[in-house]
């Protein structure tokens, strides 16, 4: 069994794909990995607020009616609305621009959404397990058929996924927000996403829509669950939101769990 990694810089961040299993060097594998990167670049083209010609930039300037946007953009708009409702407004797609004017900015959701899309493509690789890391948010899945018999089924319970109960175990280190060279905890999972929100890497960039201010506090919130997109939405919402949001999280985010550091 072998392992191989690919890294590309997309959406202003490093995105790495690691594969484990047989035949990681085959042309078919390279083709599917490239497909995954293509999906991520497509998301960048449509959604980047740094590209003047992206659909999101055109919506922000009032040049494009969201109702006439690409179906993918409309899908994301609907998901943003849903995320806002689920998190009681702690997630928002209306962020202040350089002048402090609130404008449409779905970036906080698009990253996880795009990574999940790419992950679905990687999941089509037979007999390979994958780990995709998009700037610190992680989605894993697939199955190493070769080691299936050896792979232990995880602690019972959980409605989780692959029907035969197997899959490759990935060890995801949760960075210590106070010392980024250290790993504070390790989460092991076969399938699903791990998202971490905090200010350690980029300073106060997380916006609290209720207080209408950027949050500048130490620490981080990681959320683990079936979908990276929802894990990421919740990680951000729980980081910026009130403590009472944790109760809401435990009620509506079935299958997700949180690690606060």
């Amino acid at each position: 069994m072998s392992r191989r990694a690919w890294v590309q810089q997309i959406m202003g961040m490093p995105i790495s794909i690691h594969l484990r299993g047989k035949d990681v060097d085959s042309p078919m594998v390279a083709h599917v990995v490239e497909d995954a990167f293509v999906l991520l670049r497509e998301a960048d083209r449509l959604f980047s607020t740094y590209r003047d010609d992206s659909e999101v930039s055109r919506i922000r300037r009032g040049e494009l009616d969201p109702g006439h946007a690409d179906p993918l953009v409309q899908e994301v708009i609907a998901l943003c609305r849903q995320a806002g409702e689920l998190t009681k407004g702690a997630f928002t797609d209306q962020l202040p621009d350089d002048q402090g004017v609130l404008r449409f900015d779905p970036t906080g959701l698009v990253k996880g959404w795009a990574a999940d899309r790419a992950a679905n493509r990687l999941a089509e690789l037979p007999g390979l397990a994958f780990c995709l890391n998009a700037g610190g948010d992680v989605v894993v899945g697939g199955t190493e058929s070769e080691t299936e018999s050896e792979t232990e089924v995880q602690v019972n319970g959980g409605s989780r996924p692959s029907k035969d109960g197997s899959g490759a175990l990935w060890r995801v280190g949760i960075e210590d927000p106070r010392d980024r060279s250290r790993v504070a905890q390790v989460v092991q999972l076969h399938h699903g996403g791990v998202a971490t929100s905090g200010t350690a890497a980029r300073g106060a960039h997380l916006y609290d829509p209720n207080a209408q201010t950027f949050v500048d506090r130490a620490g981080s919130v990681s959320v683990i669950g079936p979908s990276l997109m929802w894990a990421d939405v919740w990680a951000t919402a729980l980081f910026v939101g009130p403590k009472s949001l944790m109760l809401r999280f435990s009620e509506v985010a079935d299958g997700y769990r949180v690690i606060s550091l």
């Binding site: 602690v155 019972n156 175990l169 060890r171 995801v172 390790v186 791990v194 620490g219 769990r257 550091l261």
Partner: protein, 168 residues
């Protein structure tokens, strides 16, 4: 080997604490349950059991316990360790871990409080585990890192970058 076992036992203590946390479904700030297995490490700053573990504990400079690259052709055998029973405020908890090649490959609760929805709480998505000291010693065998968003500028200094480099 003795050191490995003692380190692992301290890990079990931490897992017990974490499992205790998960059996309390509503509170986010459960801290410090009684621990039966005290960490046998020399860590001057033993973990408090709170989930808000900071970066305060030192790695201590003890010699590494991570086994070197396989000198033997055969794959490492799996060894199971069962921790002591820890009394938590929800009842007794006992955890068994499986170690293969120096890595924890599996963890399961072999005893847990009756009447709690254990299956739902200890699910298969993730097993948050590992004492920080253990993590430091094993960081080379972590597959990936989740943290606050890494930008392209910051990537080269990141732990993830090192992991990627090892497999490119």
């Amino acid at each position: 080997m003795r050191r490995i076992v003692s380190t692992i036992l301290s890990t079990i203590s931490i897992m017990v604490l974490l499992f205790s946390y998960h059996t309390s479904s509503s509170s986010a700030t459960v801290s410090a349950s009684p621990v039966v297995q005290q960490p046998a490490s020399s860590d001057p700053n033993p973990p408090s059991g709170s989930l808000t573990s900071g970066g305060s504990s030192k790695s201590g400079g003890t010699s590494t316990t991570r086994p070197g690259p396989a000198a033997k052709p055969s794959p490492p055998a799996a060894i199971a360790y069962t921790g002591g029973v820890a009394s938590t405020r929800w009842g007794p908890v006992q955890v068994r871990i499986t170690v293969r090649g120096g890595k924890v490959t599996r963890a399961q609760a072999v005893q847990y409080p009756q009447g709690t929805n254990q299956d739902a709480q200890i699910n298969s998505y993730a097993l948050p585990i590992l004492d920080q000291e253990v993590v430091q010693k094993q960081s080379a065998s972590i597959d990936t890192v989740s943290g606050a968003t890494v930008t392209s500028d910051g990537y080269l200094q990141s732990l993830q970058s090192a992991i990627d480099q090892a497999h490119l």
